[in-house]
Structures are given as structure tokens and as C-alpha cells.
Amino acid sequence: MPILEFQNVSKVYNNTAKALDNVSFSIDEGEFVSIIGPSGAGKSTVLRCINRLIDATSGSIVYDGQNVMKLKKRELRQVRTKTGMIFQHYNLVDRLSVIENVLHGRLGQKSTVCGVLGAYSEQEKERAFAILDELGLADQAYKRCDELSGGQKQRVGIARSIMQDPKLILCDEPIASLDPRASKVIMDHLQKINCERKITCIVNLHQVDVALKYSERIIGVSAGKIVFDGRPDELTDDKIHAIYGSDGSDLITDIQGEKS
């Protein structure tokens, strides 16, 4: 059963540049999908159209039975509470503690007054600690976020989105600013969340090898169009070159080595 369905979605910036051009695809509940493509191809735009951080220009996006493009402000907030998001630059409130940042995931379900005062229930706090423990951050709970390393910050970002109890997690280049070891930790956690909690994950990636290793399905985007949509083993060298608009073997990724 599809949880998300894009139908002929286009996004035009300033009446000229087409960021998305008639994009259609659907994603089933529980899938782990990677979106790959060159910088500026529209990967980020696809993700942000789902939770309307960016408004698509035309088409329809049906998410969990609702057309998100027609939502009013209050309904949109409701949709956002069940959609986690993980950012390249983590987007934590650096001067607050780790545990406060994790609890931010609950704000959407709380009253304004409780949110303003930061009044969370014991149950919510226990849950936040349990999630931090699961992500190996139990010792850092009271540290300020600006004391953490990049990999730890991203794990806080993941904890914050799990705290939302989301149906879908959108990951916008989650490992683009991390070293290979931290990248592996983050991708492993995302995979675990997908398997154990049955949360659908859509991950934008720069690294083709990472996409091949972790995803059940890969969508290739180039110049605002979907040029590939299939299983990792269907992604041949030719198709990769079509996505990145390169010819011959001038890409840094040596996928033959990765596949074997």
C-alpha cells in the first residue's frame, strides 16, 4: 500500500528555472528508498515538497491518504508531526542540551503553553532517554549540543525525529558532512529504524555506493526528472552515467568494486 504518491509534480522557481519536471513515483509503507543525483538535480526539492517546506507548483502529492498540497495551516502542522526530518547540517538548537533537543520532537503534539515552557511529561522524558540510550548517546544527554561531534549531532537529529513517532522520515543528505566511520553509524541507525520500527525512510544521498548498500530501491534524479527507478542491482554503470550526465569512467565511485 503506497504511503506516498507523487503525480506529475512540478516546481518552478521565479517563473524560469524548473527544479522538478513532471515527477511521478510512489513509495510503499516500510520502504527504504534512496534518491541520488548530481547537486542541483532536485533531490532536496522532492523531500521538501512532501512536508511543504517548499510548495510544489503543480501536480498532486498524496501522503498517508491526504493531498498535502491542499492542506490548510493547521492540517499541515498535523501532517508534519508524523513526518520526521534529518538535515545535512543537523539543525539542532546548539545552545540547548541534547535531551532538550530530543524532546523538541514532541512540540507538534503539545499545547502552545507547554511547548513555550518546555514542560514535558515524565513519560516523554523517559522515552527520550530510552531513545538516546538506543543511539549510544546516554552519557551525552545533559551536554550542550555544541560540544558534540558531527556524528553525535546527527544521532541527536535522528533521536529528535524518532521522538515524533513518525510514519515517514525524510533524510536530506544525512551523511554529507560526516567522515566515513560516522557515516556508517548513521546509515546503520537509519536502517535499523526502518527495519525495527517499520518507519518508511527516504534518503537523499551523494554517495552511490552507500545508496547501493543500504537501500531496497533507488530513484535517480537528473535535471528535475526521474531517470532511474528500481532495485539496486538494476543500477548499471550506464544508468549511473545517465544520472550524473558523465561518460566513460570519470566518476569517483567505483561501483564494480562495491558490488562484488
Partner: protein
């Protein structure tokens, strides 16, 4: 060395030479237009210094006035603090509508910025002179004059601060479904706080200095005392006023550095 490299260095020398010659020419033209003579100006400098040393030293008579000066000084300082804090509260909420990061539309942003620019760019002395028509020579006149410029300047400064340090957190909380007020208290205030406090402390310092000048116009506070002594040719008392203002401003600066170090 090859030809083109030589040419580059030659051209740079010529550029410096032309700029230097132009500066000299501007000086000569403006000096002759205003009949200013550098040598005479410099020659009179020691004499001016001697006069200051002779007349502007706080003496015994001035010291007798010290309690009164202190009283007015404290009044002025407290007024400056009050003005700055109240203006900062208004400016903070106003700046939320001027920041791009909070996601209000471009027209609202622009209106806020224009209003802030208007309040900021009318000098506080001019505000004081305008407000004198409505309030007369009153402490309220000084209060509002300082309030308007402080409000304009802080609004602008807070917009910059929020756009710079809070944008990422705002985006994340928006994406998680938090509402605007929750975002303000959970993302914007925590992340922008150091910037906001730094600006408030800076404005308190500035306002103590400016309120002296405004006090001369509105006949209130420490500025009034300075004006009074100065016009009575009681230079030693007037200079004591100046010295005490300087001491106060330095003291405030030290305290604010301390506060900044603790909170950052």
C-alpha cells in the same frame, strides 16, 4: 623577469602614486576653501591643552557638588537602562516579523525593515527636539527620543542575529510541526540570546553617552547639570561631570564584559 609581470608591478606603483597625489590635492583645495592652516592649528594645540589643564581640573568647589552630580548621574544611568530594556522587548517581537528565517512573507519583512530604518536614521537629538513640542522640557521627551532610536537599531540588529544563528533550528522545528510561538521560545530565544544580550549591553553604554547630550536639550538628568555649570563658567564643576560620565561608562563596559563572559 618577463615583460607582463613588470607591467603589473609598474601599474600598481602608478596607482598608488595617483591616489596619493589625489589625496594631497583634496587636502589643499579644502584647506584653502575653509581657510584652515595646519601649522596654526598645531601651534595652538599646546595652548589649548594648558587652558584645559588650568580651568578644567575638578577643584574643591566642584567636589562639594559631587553628591548632586552623582544623584543626577544615577538617574540618567537608570533611565538609559530602562529605555534600552523596554525598547529591546518591543524590538525583539518586532524583529520576528522582519526576519527571513521565521517565514513571514517578503512584504511584511520589508515593511518592518523600513519602519526600523526610519526610527534608527532620525538622530536621537532630532527626535528630542521634535518631541519637545509634545512633551516640553521633560524627562519623558528624553525617554522617547532614546526609545525610538534604540528600538530602530535593536530591531535591525535582532533581525540580523535571528537570521544568522536561528535559521537552522527554526527550519527543524517547523518541519516537526511545532507552531510559531513554540518555535520562538524553543529555538529562536535560546540560540539568539547571546547576540541579543550583547546588543542590549552595547546599547546601554551608548544610551548613557547619548542621554547626556539629550539632557542638555531637555533640561533633565546629567546633561542639564553640565549645561548649567558650563553656562555659569563653572568649568571645574562641568569637568567633574564629564569625568564622572567617563568613569560610569567604563564601569558599565567592564560589567557588561563580565556578564558576556559568564553567559556565552
Amino acid at each position: 623577469m618577463n615583460e607582463s609581470v613588470k607591467k603589473v608591478f609598474f601599474r600598481r606603483k602608478i596607482t598608488y602614486l595617483v591616489i596619493f597625489a589625489a589625496l594631497i590635492a583634496v587636502y589643499i583645495i579644502s584647506a584653502s576653501a575653509t581657510e584652515f592652516h595646519l601649522s596654526e592649528g598645531l601651534a595652538s594645540f599646546p595652548k589649548a591643552m594648558a587652558w584645559i589643564g588650568h580651568n578644567l581640573m575638578p577643584d574643591e568647589k566642584a567636589m562639594k557638588r559631587f553628591p548632586k552630580i552623582l544623584d543626577k548621574l544615577i538617574e540618567t544611568a537608570l533611565l538609559s537602562v530602562a529605555v534600552t530594556v523596554i525598547a529591546a522587548i518591543f524590538a525583539f517581537f518586532f524583529s520576528l516579523f522582519g526576519s527571513k528565517a521565521t517565514g513571514f512573507n517578503g512584504i511584511v519583512n520589508r515593511i518592518v525593515r523600513i519602519v526600523a530604518a526610519f526610527f534608527r536614521n532620525v538622530p536621537d537629538v532630532v527626535w528630542a527636539m521634535l518631541l519637545m513640542f509634545s512633551f516640553g522640557q521633560n524627562i519623558l521627551t528624553g525617554f522617547f527620543a532614546l526609545f525610538f532610536t534604540t528600538f530602530g537599531l535593536l530591531t535591525r540588529a535582532f533581525i540580523e542575529t535571528i537570521d544568522e544563528v536561528s535559521a537552522a533550528g527554526i527550519e527543524a522545528l517547523n518541519a516537526s510541526g511545532a507552531n510559531f510561538i513554540q518555535t520562538v521560545f524553543q529555538a529562536i530565544i535560546p540560540s539568539a540570546m547571546p547576540g541579543i544580550v550583547t546588543w542590549i549591553l552595547y546599547m546601554i553604554e551608548t544610551n548613557i553617552r547619548n542621554s547626556t547630550l539629550i539632557g542638555i536639550l531637555t533640561a533633565t538628568g546629567i546633561g542639564y547639570l553640565f549645561d548649567l555649570y558650563y553656562k555659569r563658567l563653572d568649568f571645574s564643576s562641568a569637568s567633574l561631570v564629564v569625568v564622572s560620565i567617563i568613569v560610569l561608562v567604563i564601569a558599565i563596559e567592564l560589567v557588561s564584559n563580565l556578564i558576556r563572559r559568564v553567559i556565552l
